[in-house]
């Protein structure tokens, strides 16, 4: 590309095609692309030929066959009679769930620890320093095992559960909480919630515009909270409270009903977010230190108070340094979640492994794994790049 543009503007003519840099550049690029395609084609056709010669069935037909095995945590309906494809989908959703929640906690914890490291309070700064140095230097798999077995060994059996308010139970099978079940009219509450979110965004945009024009601030955060919480609450009472609560009940060996967080999920989220947060803390610290002190002084000189200074001057500039490495950490966390297989959390790799073993379709399943992790990572990257562009310095 670069060569093309270059030649388009200057067009150095050498008389002979053989000595034309543009033609030569094009020739080498075509050769390289051709080699890569030939290599890829060879790998695929060779593999197919070998599979056929060894009488190994191939193809993706197996995705429709009955899976026949159970999965302990499924966000969508899944039974043993569901298909392998459905099982992989369940595993995929579990991976997305643990990655999303892990990213959320890691970001919050990482920002707190990063700011704490810069605190003028000696104890807080040293505690944050210890946290970062210890956690980021211990292999993640060990931390996952630590949290899993530490959590498992320290909580009681179901019959001796730790109980809060007779409705929340904690034992070595998980954390059980009551679950709200929406009856008829429940969709209206959901709709009110969505309207609240959309309304808040519109309100925020309007408030921003008004402030830019008139200089008058508007409490958009508070009013947004009011909209998002208030509207569903009003809808809840208007529709006649169409919600019943299902409480977990001890029946036989385990609790039945309610919402359940498995120890595997809790341990994995804890380990992933605490580990990744230690890296994020350093990134945040670097970002804040990258904003020169003169910026703060200039803001003070203009009469901005400390909070607006941080919010409007320091953080926007720090974010430009923080976002690119932060993206890498999010990607790492997502990929690290595949260590879940060690502690029985049914993520994509764990479920896929079972599918692989039962069908013997190794190449296909590994292909599905790679495709899904690649898509997840590319999606995250794309979003963060978009966000990065929005935060980038706009020169006027």
């Amino acid at each position: 590309m670069a060569i093309q543009e270059h030649s388009a503007t200057e067009k150095p003519s050498r008389g002979s095609l053989l000595h034309d840099p543009w033609v030569r550049g094009l020739f080498y690029q075509v050769v390289v692309v051709g080699l890569v395609v030939a290599l890829g084609w060879e790998i695929i056709s060779n593999t197919m030929a070998n599979l056929a010669r060894q009488n190994i069935a191939s193809g993706f037909d197996f995705l429709d066959y009955t899976a026949g095995f159970g999965i302990i945590q499924a966000l969508v309906h899944y039974t043993e009679t569901s298909s392998y494809g459905r099982a992989l989908y369940v595993g995929f959703l579990n991976t997305v769930l643990v990655a999303a929640i892990g990213v959320l906690f890691a970001t919050i914890l990482g920002f707190i620890a990063g700011v704490a490291r810069l605190s003028s309070n000696w104890i807080i700064a040293k505690l944050a320093y210890l946290y970062v140095e210890i956690l980021r230097n211990i292999p993640l798999l060990l931390q996952i095992f630590f949290w899993y077995f530490a959590v498992l060994r320290s909580v009681p059996s179901p019959r001796n559960s730790v109980t809060f308010l007779e409705s929340i139970f904690i034992n070595n099978r998980g954390i059980y909480t009551p679950r709200a079940i929406f009856q008829e009219g429940g969709t209206l509450i959901g709709a009110a919630f969505l309207i609240g979110i959309v309304g808040s965004i519109v309100l925020h945009m309007w408030a921003r515009k008004r402030q830019e024009e008139t200089g008058q601030p508007f409490p958009s955060v508070l009013s947004a909270l009011g909209l998002i919480i208030g509207l569903p609450v009003i809808a809840f009472f208007v529709t006649g409270m169409p919600v019943t609560v299902e409480y977990p009940v001890l029946r036989g060996f385990n609790f039945v009903g309610g919402l359940k967080l498995t120890p595997e999920f809790v341990a994995l989220v804890l380990a992933l977010s605490i580990y990744t947060a230690s890296f994020i803390a350093e990134i945040v610290r670097a970002g804040i230190l990258a904003v020169s002190h003169g910026q703060t002084e200039a803001a003070n000189a203009l009469g901005l108070r400390p909070r607006p200074t941080l919010r409007l001057v320091v953080i926007p500039q720090a974010m430009r340094v923080i976002i690119p490495p932060l993206t890498s950490q999010y990607l790492n966390l997502t990929k690290n979640s595949s260590l879940a297989v060690a502690i029985a959390y049914p993520d994509l790799v764990s479920v896929g492994g079972t599918v692989l073993n039962q069908t013997g379709q190794a190449i296909e399943v590994v292909g599905v794994w790679m495709l899904i992790y690649l898509s997840l990572s590319l999606t995250t990257s794309a979003f963060m790049n978009w966000y990065n562009q929005r935060m980038a310095l706009v020169e006027r």
């Binding site: 790998i43 060894q54 190994i56 060996f253 079972t354």
Partner: protein, 338 residues
Amino acid sequence: MTIKFLPLAMGAALGMAVTAASGATLDDVKAKGFVQCGVSQGLPGFSNPDSAGNWSGLDVDYCRALAAAIFNDGAAVKFTPLSAKERFTALGTGEIDILSRNTTWTMTRDTTLGLNFVGVDYYDGQGFMARKSLGVSSALELSGAAVCTNTGTTTELNVADYFRANNMPYDVVAFEKSDEVVQAYDAGRCDVYTTDAFGLYAQRLKLANPDEHMVLPEIISKEPFGPVVRQGDDEWFNIAKWTLFALVNAEELGVTKANVDEMKSSDNPAIKRLLGIEGSFGETIGLTNDWAYNIIKAVGNYGEVFDANVGPDTPLGISRGLNALWSKGGIMYAPPIR
């Protein structure tokens, strides 16, 4: 030029050696001078390395028998430890010559993976282990239980089938490695631990208080373990098959490691044929006629192999049960050599 070179390079890169399925495994094995045998990553009684890296176990002894049949040397064998996921790929690509890794013979594996099961060298079934304090005496009382097991094995399917068939809800907690399954069960994550029955006895020894746990009487599946070879090499398939049959026939005929030399002068025609005194059975499978003699000299007969590795006098303490000879109440049976 480059294009001609590519297929070779890719073949090598993918580990799919050209000889892999061409029907010359015996020639390959003879040329390199040893049998490459795929075993487990460490399973007491079946294939387990000691601190010096010497392998022992029932599956290991089968490979030694195979090496003895070919080279008259039970030590002419190298072992490749494989996970449950890797095993079939390793065999299919020619990385190993034979897979002897407590592998359950199922129709899917036999028909779609390009493999052949040689026979059965151990009959097992899946069972349950639970705490005695749970007060359960039968697997049918396990409704609603949390079940710990391994991923990527037939056990996951069996437990699903069993609970479904008996209309009982359950939670399956499936770990990648056996060590974590046992630890999690010991920590109380699950009410029961399920795997093949021999595994339950082996793993119970690893628990903090083995006496507090009991194996429930139900066996919920058929798990016939056997060695596996690649499809498409009948000569090698025959050698593997008759090595197993020779072990069983030797026990049936009373030929042991200790008496195999004096048995050579036996009047029993069946023993004469087994030991190569009469007929040329070894040559028909591409070996020497004293192939079975060499096997027995190296590892003993099936009964001796069983007793030495998993029998009542070993830590596993498993009785013969189904694995006794057909003439002694079991189902272990081999076609005659004639």
